[in-house]
Amino acid sequence: MDGALLRSLTPAVLGILVRRGADFAAAEDAVQDALVEAVRVWPDDPPRDPKGWLVTAAWRKFLDATRAETARRRREDLVDAEPEQGPAHDSDDTLQLYFLCAHPSLTPSSAVALTLRAVGGLTTRQIAQAYLVPEATMAQRISRAKKTVGAVRFDQPGDVGTVLRVLYLVFNEGYSGDVDLAAEAIRLTRLLAAAIDHPEVAGLLALMLLHHARRASRTDGGRLVPLAEQDRGRWDTTLITEGVEVLQAALARDRLGEFQAQAAIAALHADAPVAEETDWVQIVEWYDELLALTDSPVVRLNRAVAVGEADGPRAGLKALAELDDSLPRYSAVSAYLHERDGDRRTAARLYVEAAEKATNLAEREYLTRQAARLNN
């Protein structure tokens, strides 16, 4: 039973149903039902044409679900109208689904949930487990999201940027529970990259691949390992090679965007055989590019770290002094730069402050350990 194949067919099948006239919410339910049936039936009776099987099964589920008198009349019309089907539409359908599931009228959490279900083919239970909420809560979130986009026309052109932001959120949530959200985000971004030729889609895919390549080395028994101390022998060179290739092809298009610039920074890190050989000067240049694109305070903060490496801790602290000290991770960056500048006392105090402001346990522990190391 090939679960991955099954899930990869989800968006195309859903697209066909919607194109045949099924409304999105009902079609989405029907596809989920068909997936469940496939999981039950396929092991003993594998279909020759998995997609055709799913379309037939999902369409039947859809018709079953619209049994009321008025619906029956509508169904007859639909059956008369019959299939406008065919592989030519697949990638368009998939793309439209991404747009719909990331529609600007949705909140980020709703867009994420709907994308994982309607495009990713995950069950509500899996999504609920991944986000640590009760299944009933996630079911409501998805059902409301479907209602919200119910009136949106399926063939409306959408904004790739909103889709990318949703996929980025999924990737950055990482790994909790049974569902590997990072791997799922990569799969969905690959699928999107196949459906649309867009340098920022490629940029995000490259960014994910380059970060995913470091996953095994990022923690050690649950403890965070900072980039400089990671065992680079454990980095996944296949993913790095692919990430760099995807990025280079995107950059060659000469339409720079945020994700390409971030991926370029990740590629420069990946390129250094040891931390000391990192090309920080080039990294600072990429942060300048990124600032020109976004002017985000978080980028300025990261740039201060890079400046500290390229031009020394004093220069880093100077860059930091221009920023608002209430920024997340400001104290952590300041602590790091002060230690490099030889001021262990200030660094220890700032690490304690940074630990108090951490928003997750792994970072708090890491920062507390840094303070303890300097105090002892």
């Binding site: 909420v133 409501q140 959120l169 950055n172 996953r215 920074i265 770290v305």
Partner: protein, 135 residues
Amino acid sequence: MAKYLLLKHYRGAPEPVNNVMMDQWSQDEITAHIKYMNDFADKLRGTGEFVDERALAQEGTWVRYDGEGRPPVTDGPFAETKDLIAGWMIIDTDTYERALELAGELSAAPGKDGKPIHEWLEIRPLYGNAPTITE
């Protein structure tokens, strides 16, 4: 997308505006209060923001390790304990502002004379996962 704990205190919170103990309310006022709380939780189930809620008994006991092979030491309850948690609700919202808005709504539960209690609730963010991309 983050989770927040809304803590309700038996003791330890600043005094609410409508500060009349429940045993001084009418039956209908108590019913209205409980209905408000239940409706609030149901509303959050409907919006997909509800995670958990529990109420805690008033009396608790302090416990600590007392060395190898010995049973744990217990003590209390202490009548003078300043802070006493009455219960909690965990919500999952898109923004901190939304969490504040909901806490404010919960605090408006009716008390004596059907007027909002204006009870002080403590809101505490839960730790999330460490993000993958930080640099």
